[in-house]
């Protein structure tokens, strides 16, 4: 249990760093953090699919200019932890419902933390300019390291808190709520798809969406009765 918690914290720190400060390989997307967290907790399917569910909500939240989108990395982590740690009696859809709601809440908490780190970093350029004014070199490597460590520390602390709350909360979800959570899981998929489509907001996007849905309906198991 403690080992899982520490691993999840490590994932949270690395993903938060990847999100803005370093590389931006998109290993911080909920699809990835959710899959990793689900794998750590022994339920890879629930982690992967709750991550895929959250993607629909934040696919078009862009880090443009000073805009800071919700923290998808922490959201994927929290969602997968809640989804994976629900009691064994819960089915996949109840896991997606509970995890999806936990992820949406965690994303907004993480977004606030991200804003706080970016405010904290405000002193770095001042330190560089002060060194130059004093006739010294600005020590840019050290300043970039300080900024990166702040992002990493914030992500690690956030990961520690989110994973801890998720591990505590998940097993305590009462069994009578599973049916409603299952219904919520399906509803969140529909809502998430509508968020994507609403953000694209063009006639052409609607046409593509319909075409994609028809393909999805046609390729699934049992779509065509005569194919057995």
């Amino acid at each position: 249990m403690i080992q899982d918690w520490l691993l999840l914290t490590l994932v949270g720190g690395v993903a938060f760093l990847d999100r803005t400060a370093a590389v931006q390989s998109m290993a911080s997307r909920p699809l990835v953090t959710g899959a990793v967290a689900g794998w750590i907790l022994g339920r890879p399917d629930a982690g992967l699919l709750v991550g895929a569910l959250l993607e629909l909500f934040w696919l078009y939240e862009l880090p443009v200019g000073a805009a800071v989108p919700p923290d998808e990395a922490g959201a994927g982590l929290a969602a997968a932890v809640v989804a994976a740690s629900l009691p064994d009696a819960a089915d996949l859809w109840a896991r997606l419902g509970a995890g999806g709601m936990a992820g949406l809440a965690a994303g907004h908490v993480g977004g606030r933390v991200d804003v706080a780190v970016r405010r904290w970093n405000r002193d770095l350029v001042g330190r560089a300019r002060a060194a130059l004014a004093a006739g010294e070199e600005p020590g840019l490597g050290r300043l970039v390291l300080v900024g990166g460590v702040r992002f990493w520390a914030a992500g690690t602390t956030l990961g520690l808190a989110l994973a801890g709350v998720g591990l505590w909360l998940g097993p305590r979800v009462p069994a009578p709520a599973f049916r409603g959570l299952g219904l919520l899981g399906v509803t969140l998929v529909v809502l998430g798809a509508s968020v994507c489509l609403g953000r694209l907001a063009s006639r052409r996007a609607k046409g593509c969406f319909l075409a994609g849905a028809m393909v999805g309906a046609g390729v699934g198991k049992g779509a065509w009765p005569w194919r057995g």
Binding site: L31, L59, P63, G212
Partner: protein, 246 residues
């Protein structure tokens, strides 16, 4: 002035991966930008007052898309190497950071990322557990390669890199990627609803058709300002209530 070598450009490239590590609301990428340029500036200006002046002008406000920033970095290295006046370098940076940001945001953030994520999500719903790793490999390669290509092109072309950026046609490509993302989102919805209900034949098509219709109505609400998170809270409360009662 000394010439910048391949090793210096390689060091700039590695540092460009941490361009945003010192990101802040007022200076944005400025500390990172000066940090990325440092190996080249040291080669060109060596030490003392010229180096400090170069650091000072690159600590001014700068913000653009992190992948296409490499084009500006490469061109600025070239201009510093050729001894371009400080004001000219400043004007070039200010003129290019906006367009690079707009092109990069539309192509990478609003085009390639959603299309690749939606493809990975669709694969995940169809049962491919390896989908996230394929996504990270694809997008990571795109990001690393774009940074390298634009750094080299920026250095080779200097200020003319602006025309090279315009010729790529990022916006048209972004639109095609957005169409692909919309189609893949439809596929995700159908695959997920089909999997949830387990219905077959006509019942399956009816349920999926219903879900598509509801999502199109809700999409109109989102377009008009419906907050998805609040909608999720309202739907969550309704679903839990219904589940307990039913």
């Amino acid at each position: 002035m000394a010439r910048v070598g391949r090793g210096d450009l390689a060091r700039c490239y590695v540092r460009s991966l941490a361009l945003q590590a010192a990101w802040s609301f007022d200076a944005m990428q400025s500390v990172g930008f000066a940090f990325v340029l440092e190996p080249a500036l040291r080669r060109i200006h060596h030490t003392g007052a010229p180096l400090r002046q170069a650091f000072e002008r690159h600590l001014e406000f700068f913000n653009t898309h992190p992948f296409l920033a490499s084009a500006v970095i490469g061109a600025v290295v070239r201009m510093e190497e050729e001894g371009a006046p400080a004001e000219e370098i400043r004007r070039f940076k200010n003129a290019l950071m906006g367009p690079c940001g707009a092109l990069g945001d539309s192509f990478f953030w609003a085009g390639a990322k959603p299309a690749l994520v939606a493809a990975a999500a669709a694969l995940a719903w169809l049962g491919a557990g390896w989908a996230p790793w394929a996504f990270v490999a694809a997008f990571g390669t795109l990001g690393l390669a774009s940074r390298a290509v634009w750094l080299v092109r920026g250095y080779r072309l200097g200020p003319a890199v602006a025309e090279a950026l315009a010729r790529v046609g990022f916006l048209g490509k972004a639109q095609r990627l957005k169409d692909a993302a919309a189609a893949l989102t439809g596929l995700v919805l159908a695959a997920a609803v089909g999997r949830a209900l387990g219905a077959e034949g006509a019942a399956r098509w009816l349920w999926i058709g219903g879900a598509v219709l509801v999502s199109m109505v809700l999409a109109e609400g989102v377009r008009r300002g419906l907050r998805p998170e609040w909608a999720a809270v309202a739907l969550g409360t309704a679903c839990l209530g219904l589940g307990m009662w039913w």
